[in-house]
Symmetry: C2
């Protein structure tokens, strides 16, 4: 194979304005970061025990293992923050734990995590402690909780507007933007009792499956700090996986909830569109409705996904956001494995997954079969058409809005921003006529996949979350495995298999990959796996998808799988 | 006032190709119409009793009154076909009526109606009789019905694809287009037991609030044949109102179910989008999703709207159309008037309604108040913005698709086609960026109206269906009263007040209309009302709207209103 320079894909024009950026915005960025540092210093952490950032960026450093061995947290703090969210709200509701105690423990762990992983944009120390206190008082007074998330320390992706706080969405030009109100899902979560302790990073443009921006810099992977945390909800993925919060909220238009969950070895849900409110989130995709962004939870257990969705829908979000479908969250029992038929995608025909992912697929297939599930191979049709269509949708306005938001500050473009801006026709805007045709293609694909699942009597589909278990930073190229479910609008979870990349096992065997790359993308992705040792210890995660609006069934099946894998 | 020539609005270019049209398409059109005539001749009707078409077009001729006095139908046929749909299915289910008997009676009345009103595109005599026979046999054998519409003679707008039948959607260029399958709502209706007896006309482009096309010509109003039947589902409006069918299916993107129901004095429902399947319908708006076309019933009673919706949703349409929201049809009781607060729109600030409509509004207000309803005046905000936004959406592709479908045959453009093609920027396509901005405006409007209704604690809004009770053919200009609910996507019914235009009562009093027209549209519309005598006997109908997805509540409230007005 010959190396393809990703630069070859950059077909658009953008003039950064170094002078403006340096003179006007750099000082603001410094001030912004200083505020984060100041907040971190308020939490008592022995920073002398922390490794230097250079080491974190360059070596295979497992932040969770480090924490367990470091004594930076007391045994009790460690134990409390290791609990799943559903257990925390249970303990609080039973009066065995206060919101203040758990919030303090999480704030500490969250700050430690940020030293290691750099996922935070905005600590909410004062508000969090105040809210926790109010909740504790309410509970003391009434003996009741305010809602099913009462007292639960949560994190939220920074591009969700947060009342009276800077909300920049990873765009330097928005570093002075103060949100007038809470994003509606945030405010409904608060109504259900959530305590937000931190707002987390997203990449420049919010359109990488990786997380780096010109304000807070690079976010790292929990299990191997030299690898990508995924994106665009990479701050959430790293934070929740580190237990910097008990539960997090992300958003997803091409894999942005799922790759962070997958790369950090936890759970995530991309719901069907228009069930969870986006109102009050900032992005460069406003008004683009051909492929819809969605909001959803990132969590440490499948039960926690259910906890969040159930608590959220209790608040009847459609009463505050007129765009939403008024579908309550159905109570769906964990299915019987013997009643299930699950299709597995081993290869989408564009980029064959790398050895750790193939091992994960073989493993899940074996485990499911042993449990009585009817497992079959599923060959997804028209993946190239789906990939091309969704890519044209992402940039259908000829990047007008993204380039506007980027150029206002003159900030330099990061490599994966350029990568994204080159999707579809890049800077060449589609016509409305072309955009309509894409919608038609999308609808046909949705119907074709639905009909196919019906014909084959398949309940759910398991697929790779990505080509590799976890890629290197700035080398997260192929969105096809996740974006397929965005264009189909099929609810999809990510779950960890419990396996981790092993350079002894996960080698590229010549007989398996002995072919001419079928695409530039395949060549590009496969070349990133040059040395399997680089990916050691990275979690192997997969996706589970179901038909549109069957979010509840998908989450219930994910619970079953997590039990089977226990 | 000075007369504004609507020609002033025609700002686009279109070259018709008279030669092609005359040589290639005219013979096909003739053949098409001959088939309709041949079908009509199969039904035994004494055509010597019928008035000549010239009389129908030029005089205030009431087709319903004519039928009652004509003896063209037997007393029994008349009685049977005057029954509401819910009564017919009841009688059939009780074994007191056969599907064959009612189908034959309706076929006869439908053909008579077509001689008078010219609403039919395609009679389905053989299929209807065969289906009726099968249903009767099934009932005889099992003692059961196949579904809640068992044996009900229905009509359907022609642009719903119908398996193996020509489906031209009012475009001459599609006169050879044979549909490969039934439109999905049609096929689900059949599953519920419906017997389709006729497919009815829509205007050229399906984008008039009137009904005339170059294939089947002009459709007439039931109550006054010199007036417009409304559109684009004008064939349905005339057919159902004449009782040419017991229930009909139309579609609506700007008033297309509602003006036909209103102008012909019956009921119609524009449901919330993505609840009823459009799949398999043909139009020039495919892929345009900023303002969604919807499919819905047209009926003689409010109960029949409920019957249809309930029967339809029993078929779980979301299982066959992956675009649909899986919301079943809730059972909602008729509300207590004392629990209701209803807002009334007297004027949208753009075009003030004409005297008969004001009388209708005053009448409903009085009747509702007498029943205990809390009635308030509702001033709709930002109607100009809503009107401009939705108009730009209609033509956002610069009329590419419509002009393509029109120019392929070279057919001449009809006045209201030109009118529609001039909406927004006419032939100048929007950019995707502009289209996105329109979506944002639409979302803000939806939220603002929802919040306003919540703040004012208003359950439903009653508004004019149109500026006039019924306008003259080719003079149906202002869409604002109906298209408002399309851009808001609020479910909306039309109901008859029971009042009819009366030239003695409905005169333009100088004190009420003594102002400079606020818009060209107002001037244009008010000028059409030069002689109140022209509109004598036309039904005065209104709209009832509720919040998104509250279709069931809107239909239940419509039932209440119909009871109050009895």
């Amino acid at each position: 194979m010959t190396v393809i320079d990703p630069q070859d894909y950059y077909k658009f024009e953008y003039l950064d304005d170094q002078d403006k950026y340096e003179k006007i915005y750099k000082p603001k960025i410094e001030k912004y970061n200083q505020a984060i540092q100041n907040d971190m210093k308020r939490i008592d952490v022995d920073i002398s025990k922390l490794p230097p950032p250079e080491l974190l960026d360059s070596t295979n450093f497992n932040s969770l293992k480090f924490l367990e061995e470091s004594n930076l947290l007391s045994e009790k703090e460690l134990k409390l923050t290791n609990l799943p969210a559903y257990k925390i709200v249970e303990l609080i509701a039973d009066g065995e734990l206060t919101s203040t105690e758990i919030t303090k423990a999480y704030l500490k762990r969250c700050v430690i995590g940020n030293y290691l992983l750099n996922y935070a944009c905005d600590f909410l120390i004062d508000q969090a402690l105040e809210t926790a206190k109010e909740l504790d008082e309410y509970y003391l007074k009434t003996g009741k909780t305010v809602g099913p998330l009462h007292g639960l320390p949560m994190s939220v992706k920074e591009h969700y507007g947060y009342k009276d706080r800077i909300t920049h969405a990873g765009f330097v030009s928005l570093i002075d933007n103060i949100a007038p109100a809470d994003q509606k899902t945030t405010s409904l979560s608060k109504k259900a009792g959530a305590v937000f302790i931190v707002r987390t990073a997203q990449p420049q443009s919010i359109m990488h499956l990786d997380t780096i921006n010109n304000i807070t810099g690079r976010t790292r992977n929990v299990y191997n700090t030299s690898l990508s945390p995924g994106g665009s909800s990479g701050g959430e993925g790293a934070c929740v996986s580190f237990s910097g919060s008990a539960l997090g909220l992300g958003s997803d238009i091409g894999g942005s909830i799922r790759t962070p969950a997958a790369f950090n070895g936890i759970y995530g849900l991309r719901p069907t569109s228009l069930r969870v409110s986006l109102a009050g989130s900032i992005s460069g995709g406003a008004g683009q409705e051909s492929v819809m962004g969605v909001v959803g939870p990132i969590a440490k257990t499948a039960e926690d996904l259910d906890l969040y969705m159930s608590a959220y829908f209790d608040q009847e979000p459609w009463e505050v956001d007129s765009l939403l479908v008024p579908l309550p969250w159905k109570k769906v029992g964990v299915p019987n494995p013997k009643d299930l038929k699950i299709g597995i995608i081993y290869d989408d025909g564009i980029v064959k997954p790398l050895p750790p992912v193939i091992r994960g697929l073989d493993f899940i297939s074996k485990k499911l079969k042993e449990s009585g599930v009817n497992v079959v191979k599923f060959v997804p049709p028209k993946t190239q058409e789906a990939y091309d269509t969704v890519h044209h949708m992402y940039t259908c306005d000829g990047n007008y809005m993204h380039k506007k938001m980027l150029s206002e500050s003159g900030e330099p473009l990061l490599p994966l921003t350029k990568w994204f801006l080159s999707f579809g026709k890049g800077d060449e805007a589609l016509s409305v006529k072309e955009n309509r045709e894409l919608n038609g293609t999308r609808n046909k694909l949705r119907q074709e996949y639905t009909d196919l699942l019906n014909d084959l009597d398949i309940d759910f589909v398991i697929s790779p979350s990505y080509v590799n278990s976890v890629p290197k930073p700035n080398q997260v190229y192929y969105w096809g495995y996740t974006s397929l479910w965005n264009i189909l609008d099929f609810p999809t979870t990510v779950f960890p298999t419990g396996l981790f990349q092993d350079p002894e096992l996960d080698i590229v065997k010549k007989e398996d990959y002995d072919y001419q790359p079928r695409s530039h993308l395949e060549q590009l992705e496969h070349e990133t796996y040059g040395n399997p040792r680089d990916f050691e210890g990275s979690p192997i995660s997969l996706q589970l998808s179901g038909r549109r609006y069957r979010d509840e069934e998908v989450v219930a099946a994910t619970k079953l799988i997590s039990k089977i894998l226990e």
